[in-house]
């Protein structure tokens, strides 16, 4: 085709667009100013010096979306759901032959420092619960939870699914933590725990 020939489609168009010289509208300038002020405020409000390994400063408590400033407001049920339910189940009945029950367990209802020590360090090896031997492993939680949280979850376990043992105080957990501070491995099942019962 002849390069000079103009097709019908090209003939009927407008000229290629140009720009006119209207200045920037005032509301846009105000928007720019407001955004810069916001940026300054946000940088000042955000704590940029926190070590990155904290992962942007959010903790378990933030994610649970509940203000948990005092020990009373730590929710044992929430902690149970987050950390225990996978093995011991929502009913507290465990899995027969695999994970021991908490409902009606003599270990749970016993001395408060025993349940505290088990949660702190976990268990490895054969453990007899209500006459049935379980050969499993429970991880330690001393790094993951503080005394208040362990007390809250232990209290929750001791009053749920028909259990009716008195609450566990944070002080009991703190004492158990201090007493067993040198321990680095889980309790060796009945071999170590039976004596404490």
């Amino acid at each position: 085709m002849d390069p000079k020939q103009v097709s019908a489609q090209e003939k009927r168009e407008h000229a290629d667009p140009h720009e006119q010289a209207m200045s920037i509208p005032i509301p846009i300038l105000i928007l720019v100013a407001l955004m810069v002020i916001f940026g300054i405020f946000y940088i000042l409000a955000g704590d940029s010096s926190t070590p990155p390994e904290y992962g942007d400063q959010r903790t378990m408590k933030d994610l649970m979306a509940k203000a948990a400033s005092t020990s009373d407001s730590v929710d044992g049920a929430a902690i149970y759901t987050a950390r225990c339910v996978a093995c011991h189940q929502a009913t507290g009945a465990g899995l027969p032959g695999v994970f021991p029950p908490l409902a009606g367990s003599d270990w749970v209802a016993g001395k408060p420092e025993v349940i505290a020590k088990i949660v702190l360090h976990g268990v490895q090896g054969t453990l007899t619960v209500n006459g049935t031997a379980f050969n499993g492993a429970m991880p330690p939680f001393k790094e993951q939870m503080n005394d208040v949280e362990i007390a809250a979850v232990a209290t929750y376990v001791r009053k749920s699914w028909g259990n009716a043992a008195p609450p566990v105080g944070a002080a009991v957990v703190a004492a158990a933590r201090t007493e067993t501070a040198s321990r680095t491995e889980p309790w060796k099942g009945d071999a170590e725990l039976a004596a404490m019962k």
């Binding site: 407008h14 209207m22 720019v32 940026g39 704590d47």
Partner: protein, 542 residues
């Protein structure tokens, strides 16, 4: 200490940016400050017209405009326009045809992946059709197939027109397209066979990426050669966006894909620096260039404010490069990086408003034209979705909202609003304008354009609404420690089915579009001599 350094860096850079933009607006750097002024041929302003209007149909359009003068274009301008078009039609045709093929492939892959979200066993017997691969195929066929092919095809077509010259080095663009498509086919094959780099947007193996880098760079050679032969003093805003996109993309893609450089947390930071910049510094500028050219072109109205164009372009260029880390909120990366990315994400409302206000002034008083022009309707919808998805994205970056939406379907809905509602729709609009000029033939079935438009709008609408609500509820469920995790999964099922319905409508729209495209190329159907208009008022029918 980190806060003070960050704050002073922020303020200093903002001051420098403001100074720079003011200098550009005032023309302090120009040897001839008339560069900022309008260059207009006589008789060409203010004529409302569909780009494709016949005399009868134009009457209808002129009545929608306050200033309907007689239309008498400068013959020299027409000649240079025809010369520009003849120099690009083969190459644009190749790019746009590839785009259509990849559009279909990506649509079916996406629909398959979507159905698998609620029917996980469907087609599970074929390895390459499993979710992990087909979803990745969808993303790559779209991100490296349809979008760049359509975007670059339109850019190559617009460029000689805007520079009042002919395309120089068209054979380079053709070679680049061949290499690019060869690379993409190899890359998609590798993904289907189970080879992946394991980073989102960067899945294709690096050996294959070399083909795309070289192909992209060769296409850019055409751009540089053509720019050097320009016959205009003033570069129109679309040229800035196209030039910048072609300059930015090879750098981003190269850095993102060099093997053995980034590890661990740094790799994640680089991954999202790349991922978000591919959106913001490649797809967005190409789509904005398309809207900035075709919207005023169809309307017959000049873009109102050169200053706003400048503000929009330079703030996009400055802020966008730093927003990627908002994908890493809550991750073990330095706090200042996250804070900066959130601030710059919010600052993105500036270019968005600058663009939207500029387009608003252009369209002011002529909104009735949307009834008539296919191109215009796609472009106006795209412009609206640009504003919507960008503002949504800015707020999504704030920690308070990100806490809920991160790792949910909400983000997926947002991504599709941006890439489909904005970028793809803008490119469709451009293709509807360009193809009649490339083929020198009208669209044979104007009704099909209407079908395409409404299927696409309904599809993305259902898709976005379903995932936005489903994703939000999913996020709330995940934050509630008293609810088991599985609840956050099962509650999304009805919304995921809604997503598949939306996806099916969009896929159908693309099948219609592709069929129409093929009919036009093969010269099937009625040979119409009138432009493809949606609606011609009764009294004006020929």
């Amino acid at each position: 200490m980190a806060t003070i350094i960050l704050l002073s860096a922020f303020i200093i850079s903002i001051v420098a940016l403001v100074f720079f933009i003011v200098a550009m607006i005032r023309g302090w750097f120009d040897p001839d400050s008339k560069g900022a002024e309008v260059i207009f041929a006589a008789n060409e302003i203010g004529n409302p017209e569909d780009p494709a209007a016949s005399p009868e149909a134009r009457k209808a359009l002129e009545r929608t405009s306050p200033e309907g003068d007689d239309h008498a274009p400068d013959p020299r301008e027409l000649e240079s326009r025809a010369a520009a078009d003849r120099s690009t039609d083969t190459i644009t045709f190749v790019f746009l045809s590839c785009a259509i093929v990849w559009l279909l492939a990506a649509s079916f892959a996406g629909l398959t992946a979507s159905i698998k979200m609620h029917e996980p066993d469907w087609l599970g017997a074929y390895e390459w059709l499993t979710f992990g691969r087909i979803r990745t195929l969808h993303l790559n066929a779209l991100a490296y197939g349809f979008l760049p092919m359509a975007g670059l095809g339109l850019a190559i077509w617009m460029l000689p027109r805007l520079l009042k010259t002919t395309l120089v080095g068209g054979q380079f663009a053709l070679l680049g397209a061949i290499l690019w498509n060869a690379g993409l086919i190899a890359g998609l094959g590798a993904i289907a066979a189970g080879f992946s780099d394991g980073m989102e947007w960067l899945e294709m193996p690096w050996q294959v990426d070399i083909l795309l880098v070289v192909g992209g760079a060769i296409v850019a050679v055409t751009l540089v050669l053509t720019l050097r032969r320009r016959n205009v003093d003033h570069l129109y805003v679309s040229v800035w966006y196209m030039g910048a996109a072609l300059f930015w993309f090879p750098i981003l893609f190269l850095v993102g894909n060099i093997p053995g450089v980034h590890f661990g947390v740094q790799q994640a930071a680089m991954n999202w620096w790349y991922g978000h910049n591919a959106l913001g510094l490649f797809f967005t500028p190409l789509a904005l260039a398309t809207i900035y050219y075709f919207l005023p072109k169809v309307m017959g109205t000049p873009v109102k404010s050169y200053a706003l164009s400048l503000l929009g372009f330079w703030t996009l260029a400055f802020f966008y490069g730093q927003v990627g880390a908002h994908h890493l909120i809550g991750s073990p990366v330095p706090g200042w990086l996250i804070t900066l990315s959130i601030v710059q994400s919010m600052m993105m409302v500036i270019p968005v408003f600058a663009f939207s206000v500029n387009q608003y002034y252009t369209m002011q008083g002529k909104l009735r034209m949307l009834l008539h022009s296919p191109t215009l309707r796609f472009l106006a919808f795209a412009g609206l979705m640009y504003a919507a998805s960008s503002v949504q994205g800015s707020f999504e970056a704030l920690r308070a909202i990100n806490t809920v939406t991160h790792f949910t379907h909400y983000t997926v809905g947002h991504a599709h609003l941006g890439l489909y509602g904005f970028v793809a729709m803008a490119l469709f609009g451009g293709m509807y304008f360009v193809m009649p000029r490339v083929m020198q033939r009208e669209w044979p079935y104007p009704k099909l354009i209407l079908v395409h438009f409404w299927l696409s709008v309904a599809g993305i609408g259902i898709y976005f609404i379903a995932l936005t609500f489903g994703g939000w509820f999913q996020g709330m469920a995940m934050l509630d420690a008293t609810r088991p995790f599985m609840e956050s999964v099962t509650l999304t099922l009805p919304y995921l089915k809604g997503r598949s319905i939306g996806g099916a409508l969009m896929t159908l729209a693309h099948v219609v579009f592709a069929a129409h495209f093929v009919a036009m190329v093969l010269r099937l159907g009625p040979a119409r001599d009138a432009p493809a208009l949606f609606y011609v008022p009764k009294g004006d029918r020929a």
